[in-house]
Subunit: 334 residues, 2 copies
């Protein structure tokens, strides 16, 4: 195959494409059989449990090719799944990647996409072990599956929050939603803000550190908005919570562009999805340990509220009155 | 939610749809945390390795809603992946299912699809542990991931075929391809033939029996056509093979409809995909054991050729001359 002639996938074909991808995957001792057999064979660490999560990204639903260059799209395709393993306190290990691609898509698109995917994999010690490739008649569809592992006692579920626990969040909120809002309104978004939407960083190291230190009672990643995502913790833990909008961590650029404090800034920070920060709960006696643990990982953490023993999530305005008229987090089909 | 009003997905919404699916999943002792957290948590059997495979099915590429009713589509969505675990000699265990669905699709479609998926899961002791649901702007896309397990010594890869091994295949070949050909040409296909295309049976029990008895040196499932799929075994084993077209197992209905023997019958049997039978290789001294093993599982097995120590796969005509002008197996993008 003369690659100079292969400007699209058609002359390359499915099996050559798979070989092309497989050749770029670094081997790992845990992978007994990787890409190329009916199924991948991997060895779990003795005593650990398997963690598994999957995400599907659809063109013009989850991403637009006009906004997402293939390299960052590749990174994000894996980042959203790695974030799920992080949110369990797990160690990311192996990924499967299925892509449906129009036959006339430039080969450069695939190469750049895979470069991004495999770079983020490498940054998180994840090995690609399999997947599927097929021709699509309507846009690019990406389905990624990630597997991780962790000792049973260190796994952090959504169901462990207890009344009077603090509610914490890493990083800043609302940046991805603000970027999306700017793009959707035809405005441009500058790079540090835009990268929060296009190239989110899964919070693996701080999640692992919190899990290994036994500091988090419940944890989730913020993909649907902090309000909806803490709501999942509250529901599964059989508790409620109060979130103080004055304490939401916001970036300087977010504050300046949304004229903080304002209703729109609160809404974006509370209900905007795709920040891929971690929301977790922890006992009040562990505050100093949590800050020290996050500092070691170079990640900011902020207490934004308190778990209650009655159900429902309340948001308090800057002046302490209840915040109303909130949008829900993102929900497909509605 | 009054379900009588929920004729499409829109009033139900994403989270209610997930709950609706989760409520139908039978629990399993190996599943510590199933649907509803950031990642599923499962416990592997001590000493076993993890087997993982994934398949994507696109509307109008892999299936047409006019041909595939949602119930059998649900079954097939899992069957094609279970077949991959079988082909490794593995025990199927857990599945992830991602679906992208137009918002206006009838809720009955999803219910029937899930009924089929979960029935085939139950038949194979597979538990659904997670997935993703999203709204699609163009047709139904299904991405299934299956995990299985097996002891290291019992796993059967594609790479173990040895010169002079017999080449075997389960069941009959070409039925699915003939069904597809009939449908594509506007003809009808009667049910026993049509079910080979729409509702294939993964050969789990015979695959496991062969693996546990140490009888198969290499194995693959026939999804791209026996010629292409044995070709994968040959390539990964560093061998070749001769396949006798006179020995290909064909169903009576296949023979009558393709006017066997004919070029078209040989081509469909050799290059037609989606039969999801098993092709495996085994030492010549094990012939009786293999037949007995397959008989116990109620599956026919047929010797169709011999592994050679030189590369390339040759097909012999009924009269022993080489068969030429073969189509390749299915290959996306070309």
């Amino acid at each position: 195959m003369n690659q100079k002639l292969s400007s699209t996938l058609t002359p390359l074909g499915e099996f050559a494409l798979i070989s092309r991808i497989a050749a770029r995957v670094a081997p790992h001792e845990s992978v007994i059989t990787g890409i190329g057999d009916d199924a991948a064979v991997t060895a779990l660490t003795a005593g650990m449990r398997l963690l598994t999560s999957t995400d599907m990204l659809l063109e013009d639903v989850h991403f637009r090719r006009a906004w997402h260059d293939p390299y960052t799209l590749g990174r994000k395709s894996l980042a959203v799944s790695v974030s799920d393993i992080a949110a369990m306190g797990g160690i990311p290990r192996w990924a499967l990647l299925s892509v449906a691609i129009p036959s006339d898509i430039p080969l450069d698109f695939i190469d750049d996409f895979m470069r991004g995917f495999l770079e983020l994999a490498s940054e998180n010690n994840v090995t690609l072990i399999g997947g599927d490739t097929c021709s699509s008649r309507s846009g690019v569809t990406i389905s990624g599956t990630i597997m991780g592992e962790q000792y049973p006692d260190l796994i952090v579920c959504r169901s462990g929050a207890k009344p009077d626990d603090d509610i914490w969040v890493t990083g800043t909120l609302g940046d991805a939603a603000l970027s999306l809002s700017l793009l959707e309104n035809g405005a441009s978004a500058s790079y540090p803000l835009l990268s929060r939407l296009l190239d989110p960083t899964p919070r693996v190291s701080v999640a692992l550190a919190l899990a290994e230190a036994g500091l988090a009672t419940a944890m989730i990643d913020v993909s649907d908005g902090i309000l909806a995502d803490f709501g999942h913790i509250a529901e599964l833990s059989g508790v409620g919570g109060t979130i103080r909008s004055a304490d939401l961590p916001l970036s300087d650029i977010f504050c300046s562009l949304t004229a903080y404090p304002s209703d729109i800034s609160c809404r974006l920070a509370l209900s905007g999805g795709e920040d891929y920060e971690l929301c977790f709960t922890a006992g009040g006696s562990n505050r100093e340990k949590i800050v020290a643990c996050a500092n070691k990982c170079g990640v900011a953490v902020t207490r934004i509220g308190i778990v209650t023993n009655y159900s429902g999530v309340t948001v308090l305005n800057l002046d302490g009155t209840p915040f109303t008229a909130l949008a829900d987090g993102f929900n497909h089909f509605t």
